[in-house]
Amino acid sequence: MTIRIVGQVSLVEATSAGEKQEFVRALCESGMSIEGAISSHAGVHTESSVGGGDLTWDLRFSEEDAVEDFCERVKHAGEGGIFGALGAELALLAPRVSSVELAIPEAIRGHVGVPGLVGIKRTLWLRVLPGTDPAASERFEAETPMLAAAVPAIRNWQWSRIRVAAPNPMTTRWTHLWEQEFETLAGLESDYMASPCHWGVVDRWFDPEMPDRIVDLWLAHLACPATESVLGWQAAG
């Protein structure tokens, strides 16, 4: 049993594309210096990503105690100072960071078909609107995984609620994470977007003109290169 923390990291303005790539490499290495961390993966968001930071960061821990310690340090750091609170190596990266959002996904459902996948990871951060009828929220949670069956280019996926109980790294506006891994960006930008299960079924929860909508219009649709399958971490133990 391992625990994964997902983050979106925004870098200071005027960070060049090359500097973002360099930052990602440093974050993959430095993340491993966090006490209890057993994996650290980061990727710069593609140009088609919207609504979130500059890169996605996934961290894996093997022990709940280490997660608790991580969350305590983050909580007391405040959003702007998280990297500074996570040890000397990450503190070196702190001046290049403008903000960090972190969440622990608690899987509702998931599947890892290709644990060794190298490709594209897409993370959709979303918020179900406060006051939503629980029955509607349940239907939404039940329907979203249908996309994985309809779009075979989704090799690995996880549909999660964001942990609100302690320990968690921060209070966040988001309620759910919909994560997928593809072999190519075309799987996301072509197949996923064109599937009639997407536009004809599941999108109604997101469409502002649909009476069924329950999802806040502010979404973070974030895709990045994946040098390994972070969704496969769980399968790897």
Binding site: A150, V151, P152, A153, F182, E183, T184, A186, G187, S190, D191, Y192, M193, A194, S195, P196, C197, H198, W199, G200, D203, R204, D207, P208, E209, M210, P211, L217
Partner: protein
């Protein structure tokens, strides 16, 4: 393949069904024509049918309106979706409560187009 030789795009149809409040047929249709249709068509959502059921003005009979709109395939769907998160659109649907009891919106296609749409989602299977 050049643009001139591009394959025809199967349309997607938007089906709007409205259960009207008593006496609200004309006010609703007038408002829809003046407030909603022009901007919807600018988003690529073309009105092709306006139907009333049952087609009678008999007192005490509740009326429903069915609007059928056409989108130019999947690109047309996402073109529409990329433009409909506006305050004006939100205000329109909120104001509709003055004329309607309830509504639904669904998306549809001809049976012959279904396999083509499914295959679009499986090109990188």
């Amino acid at each position: 393949m050049s643009a001139a030789q591009a394959e025809p795009v199967d349309p997607i149809f938007v089906l709007d069904e409205f259960r009207l409040k008593t006496g609200m047929l004309e006010p609703f249709l007038e408002a829809m024509e003046s407030r909603y249709r022009p901007d919807a068509e600018a988003r690529g959502q073309t009105l092709i049918h306006t139907w009333v059921t049952p087609p009678t003005t008999t007192e005490g009979v509740a009326l429903e309106v069915l609007l059928v709109w056409r989108l130019e395939g999947v690109p047309g769907f996402w073109r529409m979706r990329s433009q409909n998160s506006t305050d004006e659109v939100a205000a329109w649907w909120s104001d509709c409560e003055a004329w309607i009891e309830s509504r639904t919106r669904r998306f549809a296609a001809s049976p012959g187009a279904m396999s083509g749409f499914e295959s679009l989602g499986r090109r990188n299977a």
